[in-house]
């Protein structure tokens, strides 16, 4: 790939796209207008409604005989007007006057009703008032808008108050009507005021101290800082808006640069120029991605400015650092979507066809971003692997300052993996002349899953297999979670590493021996494997872990691995489960299948990529560095010796020794790895020397010539 050529294509595509008013509209103008209008409109509407409600007096009907002073307290502040004309139906009036009507008891529907001591609360969930004549009459009156609420003073109010008991009153209101709800609040407040005065009077009459009846003076204070409170509200819809709008920016350019070029016949011109198809796709990809990012920036800046300028001093405040983080999150997402858009749009024969193609794709991919509006769906180890959803939830988590580093890491890794997959797909589509010239091609061949006799895995195949494998391992191990640590481990290893590796080799007709490097190891290779296997863990434990110490929970989880039914297993079981099994299964997958696909990249790219994939598969930022280090060593072993048995040996020794130290605390203490997770400096130095010796032996081992 020639970067100068790619850059030429990027510049041309950007120039041409930025001259398109439609793109500018979607990319800049829409977000710049959208947020201020949305916020202003929304808050204005809310404020004006609230003000209208607040400024109006509530019209209330009072049925029954009021105790002395109550009506005065109700209309004290002038916010409640008692509508004398709103009299109850005759039957109710007579019933209340004669004492024949009583407040109905609440129906118990399972959970106890919430009895609010300080406010006249509506029955809580779990209880309901049965339909009574008074209730039906009140409902009719409120529904007819004659009053906002009805206050019923039941016949026992007067005698009860005279005898020092609690009088019964009811407020009937309609919570759906803002006016009615407000009337209920005001009535409850005034009644509480009346009650306070009444209780105070009773305490004084009986010579009790003030607060005797109150018992406890309770106050609740919301601990969430303003930022989190506003973040919670914003978190509901902001991720969705940011994601859909950023993606919209790249929508038209993606179609224009692919289907549009086909329609205009310029794609053909490009294809007969001295260019590699990868240069064309990368050039177009970078241009569309850049436009998506400009759209993302426009959205974030517009949003930030709206927050800061239009709502000054309000609770709605988002820190610039949060917005910056949101932008970082949009990088892999827009990368992913751009690649998907390009890969699919190129199948369309013209611009209109492209729109028809991409609109459902856009909907399907962007709508999951609305998941933030659902309560209870949060970023966790499951959702971190779902594309789009993970980023939406992560932005939401950032807004309420709840994102843990491990989940951020998982989200970024999985998003990057999805993005890489999508780009591989796009590159493959662009390598198909028939697709570029208007024909169609089978999806199967695009995904690299075409079985050809004598075929070997390709880098694209390796990355695809890894991405699918990672997701499968992940969900698989979560499904197996209830089955006990050892069972989970064994099933994961055999079911998700060894089995897929063998199945894929069989399904695609790859040569087994060659793909999995099943050759007799040279003697030097075995010696190197033993030296590396005995020392690499120590270097990792002594040096690398200091750079990023793992949290206590991870150490505990590792220790947990060595228990069966809560009791320590015997040492040979530990070696079998934690040492040999992962060595065989993971090596077959990584140093077998994956490495076979990566071989054509050359030694160092293959070793580093394979090591990195191995590290990423351990799904924890704290384990990334040690496992990457280990992965590189193991890959290099197989590369030099041509035999997977060397890496299996080294891997088993490495895991087995590390497990033995966790198992046997006395031995660990002897090596200075007792109290903390780090290994002492002396054993670390010795281990480093052994590792160096292993590498030296490996360098002298003659590389096995590949068949």
């Amino acid at each position: 790939m020639r970067l100068a050529i790619v850059w030429t294509i990027v510049r041309k595509e950007l120039t041409e796209t930025l001259r398109d008013r439609r793109t500018i509209m979607m990319m800049i103008a829409l977000p710049v207008l959208l947020y201020p209008l949305l916020m202003m409109g929304f808050t204005k509407l809310q404020v004006s409604q609230r003000e209208a409600t607040a400024s109006r007096a509530s019209r209330v009907a009072v049925w029954g005989t009021a105790p002395p002073g109550l009506l005065a307290v109700l209309s004290d502040e002038g916010r409640i007007v008692v509508e004398a004309a709103a009299a109850p139906p005759e039957a109710i009036r007579a019933g209340l006057a004669s004492g024949a009507l009583h407040r109905p008891a609440l129906l118990d529907t399972g959970t106890p009703a919430r009895q609010d001591s300080d406010r006249a609360a509506a029955p809580g969930p779990g209880s309901a008032e049965p339909d009574s004549p008074a209730m039906l009459a009140a409902r009719a009156m409120v529904a007819a808008r004659r009053v906002d609420a009805v206050l019923v003073l039941w016949p026992d109010v007067m005698p009860a108050m005279a005898q020092g008991r609690a009088g019964r009153v009811s407020i009937y209101f309609d919570s759906v009507r803002e006016d009615s709800l407000e009337a209920q609040r005001r009535l409850a407040d005034r009644l509480a005021e009346y009650r306070r005065a009444l209780v105070g009077q009773r305490e004084r009459d009986r010579g009790l101290s003030e607060g005797f009846s109150l018992g406890l003076d309770v106050r609740s204070t919301n601990l969430a800082p303003d930022q989190r409170r506003s973040g919670q509200i914003l978190g509901l819809f902001l991720p969705f808006l940011l994601i859909t709008m950023s993606l919209l920016g790249g929508f038209y350019p993606a179609i224009d640069l692919t289907a549009g070029e086909k329609e205009r016949g310029t794609m053909q011109t490009l294809l007969c120029a001295p260019l590699r198809s990868i240069e064309i796709i990368i050039g177009k990809f970078v241009a569309v991605w850049a436009i998506s990012l400009i759209a993302a920036v426009a959205n974030i800046v517009s949003l930030g400015t709206t927050m800061a300028r239009i709502l000054p001093g309000d609770q709605m405040h988002v820190a610039p650092s949060t917005l910056a983080m949101a932008f970082v999150m949009l990088l892999p997402l827009t990368f992913f979507m751009t690649a998907v858009f390009l890969a699919l749009a190129v199948f369309a024969k013209d611009f209109k066809d492209g729109q028809n193609f991409l609109t459902p794709v856009y909907m399907v991919l962007a709508l999951p971003a609305g998941v933030t509006m659902l309560r209870g769906v949060e970023l966790n180890a499951w959702t971190a692997f779902v594309p789009v959803v993970n980023i939406a939830l992560l932005i939401k988590a950032l807004l309420v300052s709840e994102a843990s580093p491990d989940l951020i890491f998982l989200t970024l890794v999985s998003s990057t993996a999805w993005a890489a997959l999508a780009l591989v797909l796009a590159a493959r589509v662009f390598a198909r002349e028939q697709v570029l010239l208007g024909g169609r091609d089978s999806l199967r061949s695009l995904l690299g899953f075409e079985r050809q006799p004598g075929a070997e895995p390709t880098p694209a195949f390796a990355l695809t297999a890894f991405a699918f494998g990672l997701v499968a391992v992940f969900y698989g191990s979560l499904l197996l979670q209830g089955t006990g640590t050892v069972t989970t481990l064994l099933l994961t290893e055999y079911g998700f590493f060894l089995l897929p590796a063998l199945l894929l080799v069989a399904a695609f007709g790859f040569p087994l021996r060659k793909t999995l490097s099943l050759r007799r190891p040279p003697m030097g290779g075995l010696i190197a494997a033993v030296l590396i296997g005995c020392s690499a863990w120590a270097v990792a434990a002594g040096v690398l872990i200091r750079l990023l110490p793992p949290p206590e929970s991870l150490v505990k989880a590792l220790e947990q691995l060595l228990l069966i039914d809560g009791k320590p297993a015997s040492l040979w079981v530990v070696w079998l489960v934690v040492g040999v099994t992962p060595a065989v299964c993971e090596e077959a997958f990584f140093r077998g299948l994956i490495l076979a696909g990566l071989r054509r990249l050359g030694v160092w790219p293959a070793v580093i990529v394979c090591g990195l994939l191995f590290g990423l598969a351990h799904s924890s930022i704290y384990r990334l560095l040690p496992t990457f280090f280990m992965g590189v060593l193991l890959t290099w072993l197989v590369w030099r010796t041509g035999s997977i048995w060397t890496s299996i040996l080294a891997h088993a020794l490495n895991n087995g020794i590390a497990a033995t130290l966790v198992y046997n605390k006395e031995l660990a203490a002897m090596l200075g790895a007792g109290s903390d997770a780090f290994l002492g400096w002396k054993p670390t130095a010795v281990a480093t020397l052994v590792l160096a010796a292993g590498i030296a032996v490996l360098l002298r081992t003659r590389p096995v010539v590949r068949e």
Partner: protein, 251 residues
């Protein structure tokens, strides 16, 4: 001297459809060769294989001695391709389009600039070279397209119906520029439906029908063999409704 373009035994199938079967041809430098044939004869597929846009199922293509499959970048660098239905980038000007393609062909910026001025002059594009291509007439667009194909001074020009949908004046303009390329020693292979163009321009003619070359030679050879007085009659006799059906293309 070896011919600039050599194609040997090209075949191409699209699924069950055999589009081109066993086509071999050569074009020498300073030679204009016409590829004639009815619609669906396989002209465009043949030209696309020659230009390296399509990969043939069998056979090979050499441009200036370079195999287009083995050394695609070098071979394509020696080729200028133009199709009659090709448009330009709507929102770029002719100058910008030329600069873009100059860079894609790895020309230096000064070389692009001087060559652009030369072509603007030669093809009389001064009046519209700075305007966005979307605003040009079809004749102006085709001139800009020709400039694009000629820009890097390729050894070989492959032109797929370059005068389609053009008026007589614009068409004549293109025809004359093809003659100039021949005079400059370039090899030109072009397809057309306009018999007078072929009669006027071609040193040799290939008649393609049903994916196979059914006759080839100079205009005089073709007329003599068919016993006709002009190319149109000869064409109709060979590929018209009354002509014998060509042998089906197969592997």
């Amino acid at each position: 001297m070896a011919p600039t373009l050599v194609a040997e035994h090209l075949t191409k199938r699209f699924g069950p459809v055999a589009a081109v079967g066993d086509v071999s041809l050569t074009v020498g430098s300073g030679e204009v060769v016409g590829l004639l044939g009815p619609n669906g004869a396989g002209k465009t597929t043949t030209l696309r294989m020659l230009a390296g846009i399509l990969t043939p199922d069998t056979g090979r293509v050499l441009i200036a001695g370079l195999d287009i499959h083995e050394a695609p970048l070098q071979a394509k660098g020696r080729l200028g391709f133009l199709s009659g239905d090709t448009q330009l980038y709507q929102r770029l000007s002719t100058r910008e389009v030329l600069r873009y393609f100059g860079r894609l062909y790895s020309m230096s910026d000064p070389a692009i600039a001087s060559r652009t001025e030369q072509l603007i002059d030669e093809l009389d594009m001064g009046a519209f070279a700075a305007r966005p291509c979307g605003t040009l007439s079809s004749g102006q667009k085709q001139r800009a397209n020709i400039a694009r194909a000629f820009l890097h001074e390729p050894d070989l020009l492959i032109l797929d119906e370059p005068t389609v949908a053009l008026d007589v004046i614009s068409g004549q303009f293109i025809v004359e520029s093809i003659r100039r390329q021949r005079a400059a020693g370039r090899a030109v292979l072009f397809s057309t439906h306009i018999m007078s163009e072929a009669e006027y321009l071609c040193d040799r003619i290939l008649l393609l029908h049903g994916g196979r070359i059914i006759d080839r030679g100079s205009l005089d050879d073709l007329l003599a063999r068919s016993g006709c007085r002009n190319l149109t009659d000869a064409f109709l006799r060979l590929v018209g409704p009354a002509a014998p059906t060509p042998q089906a293309v197969g592997r």
